[in-house]
């Protein structure tokens, strides 16, 4: 039987901190980046053309799994058509 004492372990960061100064600084930097810098970068014509191309294809570059973007469904449809064609040409089995 395990006789070791059980204790609730708190992460160290719940005890140590740098203070409000660095916090306000970090928030300020984020505000400048997201409200000024990134909108300016997003307005460049080359970038807008790239986004338009990705959108047209149903691509979500931030997706972490195939179910999160429309292009996966399109590729699945193509794969299904291919499987169907193969089954028809070999005469094997049922259709979908």
């Amino acid at each position: 039987m395990d006789t070791r004492p059980v204790r609730i372990v708190e992460p160290a960061c719940w005890r140590s901190r740098l203070g409000w100064g660095p916090f306000v600084g970090a928030v300020g930097v984020m505000l400048i980046v997201w409200l000024v810098l990134l909108p300016a970068l997003s307005d460049r014509p080359a970038f807008q053309a790239c986004v338009a191309r990705l959108n047209a294809q149903g691509i979500d570059p931030s997706a972490i799994f195939y179910t999160e973007q429309a292009v996966s469904l399109d590729v699945l449809a193509t794969l299904t058509r291919r499987t169907k064609r193969q089954k028809t040409s070999t005469g094997s089995g049922k259709s979908f």
């Binding site: 372990v9 992460p11 986004v51 179910t67 292009v71 590729v75 979908f96």
Partner: protein, 477 residues
């Protein structure tokens, strides 16, 4: 005699039948199953199919879609994330998921001993930070560069916890494992084993032979050559690099009970290298004049994240896009197998007692992360549901489209984001630095990814160029 080392309460799940309602693992399973059952119970009966000359037309009523959506993409003002011309009511998703999370996690934690009156205000605050992470990730430039919500959720939590400190009232809702495990049960429903065979032999070899070889070799390299102390860190980096990035890292880390700092490191490295690879690989493929099919298969098997693979494929060409997405999709399914095998390996081999004796079947069951059962069951049930449709186009529209893409994968994203905010809120920069000691995790990632690049290129060339030429051109058309 010195005191024996103390153990974390998190390592002491309740034994016996009470674990069914006293452990986070089982609560994650119940919450995941109830969500999946309710969504299916409402959406599936609403499906009507009209067969016509041009093919079947599917009509679906999905009342959940509007209430689970994540904040949308924005360009100039964050307000666009909640209301814009295309989606004027996008803010409803945040309201719906907050209510669902408050009720589901609140009930679970109440039964497990956390009073609801303490959880509710804490959850509200953590949820607001989660929404903020989605807003940061939704800026169109950020989104296009695959700087996903996981990164911003971690950053927001880290900034708070390491500057002003995580306020005491927030702590009842800082439940990383609970959110991750619930999200993973929902992820299980997205893994359809029927998709496996769609690519045929070449795709299976590229996605399913190279990946386990790279995973096992990288793990071995980390243990034997680099001598990384933490096996959980080693396997989490190996899985995240060889399978599919963030989602594989989450599943593997949960299966082997990796520390939150280890998951943070693995995810951070994966995101950083993904951003580089999604631009460098298409450039290199075009530079050397590599064929689109070979290039697409190479990128699909090596770039960690699904979205980045698609974007990189698009940069090369339409055929490369289709092949890359197809290979990545098949690799995505490997997550289920990897998580299950890692869980089994950990409870039977890694977590042996000090004497090294073989654990009994009961001990294995006790240690086994139960959410993996929910993950596997959800996967099998949805694979069966998908296969049950006579017309696969209808199955794809209903199961993969309406139920998963529009509903459960949105919820899963919310739960993972809650988890990453929680990780940030409970992580210390200095502790994080300790795990990076000597740069070994980075060396492991670099060596593993180099092997992955070489092996995948060789296998893609062997399969798609030498043995089955033309196998994927058909897909590319």
């Amino acid at each position: 005699m010195p005191d024996p080392p103390a153990i974390d309460v998190a390592d002491q799940p309740p034994r016996g039948w009470s674990q069914l309602w006293k452990s986070e693992d089982w609560w994650a399973v119940w919450i995941g199953f109830v969500i999946l059952a309710v969504v299916c119970g409402v959406v599936l009966p609403s499906v009507t199919v009209d067969s016509g000359d041009a093919g079947a037309t599917v009509k679906i009523t999905n009342p959940f879609k509007a209430w689970v959506g994540q904040p949308t993409t924005w360009r100039h003002s964050p307000v666009e994330a909640f209301s814009n011309d295309a989606k004027p009511l996008a803010y409803r998703g945040a309201i719906g998921v907050f209510c669902l999370g408050l009720i589901a996690f609140g009930i679970g934690l109440s039964v497990m001993g956390t009073p609801f009156r303490r959880f509710a205000p804490a959850f509200l605050a953590v949820f607001i930070l989660t929404v903020l992470a989605f807003v940061l990730a939704g800026q169109v430039w950020v989104k296009t560069h695959h700087l996903s919500y996981a990164l911003w959720a971690l950053l927001i939590g880290l900034i708070i916890s390491n500057t002003i400190g995580t306020p005491a009232f927030l702590r009842p809702a800082v439940r990383t494992e609970f959110y991750i495990k619930t999200g993973l049960v929902l992820l299980g429903a997205e893994i359809l084993f029927g998709l496996l065979l769609k690519l045929g032999v070449p795709g299976i070899f590229v996605a399913w032979v190279v990946t386990p070889v790279v995973l096992i070799t990288t793990f071995w390299f980390g243990q034997r050559v680099l001598k990384i102390e933490s096996k959980t860190l080693n396997i989490t980096i190996a899985a995240d690099m060889s399978v599919c990035g963030v989602s594989a890292a989450i599943a593997t880390a949960a299966a082997c009970r990796a520390k939150k700092e280890e998951l943070t490191l693995a995810v951070g490295m994966s995101l950083a290298f993904t951003v580089v690879m999604m631009f460098v690989m298409p450039w290199f493929i075009k530079l050397v004049g590599m064929g689109q099919v070979l290039g697409g298969a190479w990128m699909g098997g090596t770039i960690d994240a699904t979205g980045a693979v698609s974007a990189a494929g698009e940069f090369v060409g339409e055929d490369a896009l289709k092949v890359a997405v197809a290979v990545k999709m098949i690799q995505n399914i490997l997550i289920g197998v990897i998580a299950f095998c890692v869980a089994i390996y950990w409870v039977t081999r890694v977590e042996r007692d000090a004497a090294g004796s073989r654990p009994s079947a009961w001990e294995i069951w006790h240690r086994f992360p139960k959410f993996v059962i929910g993950f596997v069951v959800a996967s099998l049930v949805f694979s069966w549901l998908y296969a049950g449709y006579a017309d696969e186009n209808v199955a794809r529209t209903v199961i993969t489209g309406a139920i998963k893409k529009d509903t459960t994968s949105q919820l899963r994203g919310w739960f993972f984001c809650l988890a990453f905010v929680s990780i940030g809120l409970a992580t210390n920069f200095r502790e994080l630095g300790r795990y990076f000691a000597g740069g070994k995790p980075l060396i492991l990632y670099l060596c593993g990814q180099s092997l992955n690049l070489v092996l995948t290129l060789f296998m893609a060339w062997l399969m798609f160029v030498k043995l089955f030429p033309g196998a994927m051109e058909e897909l590319g058309r």
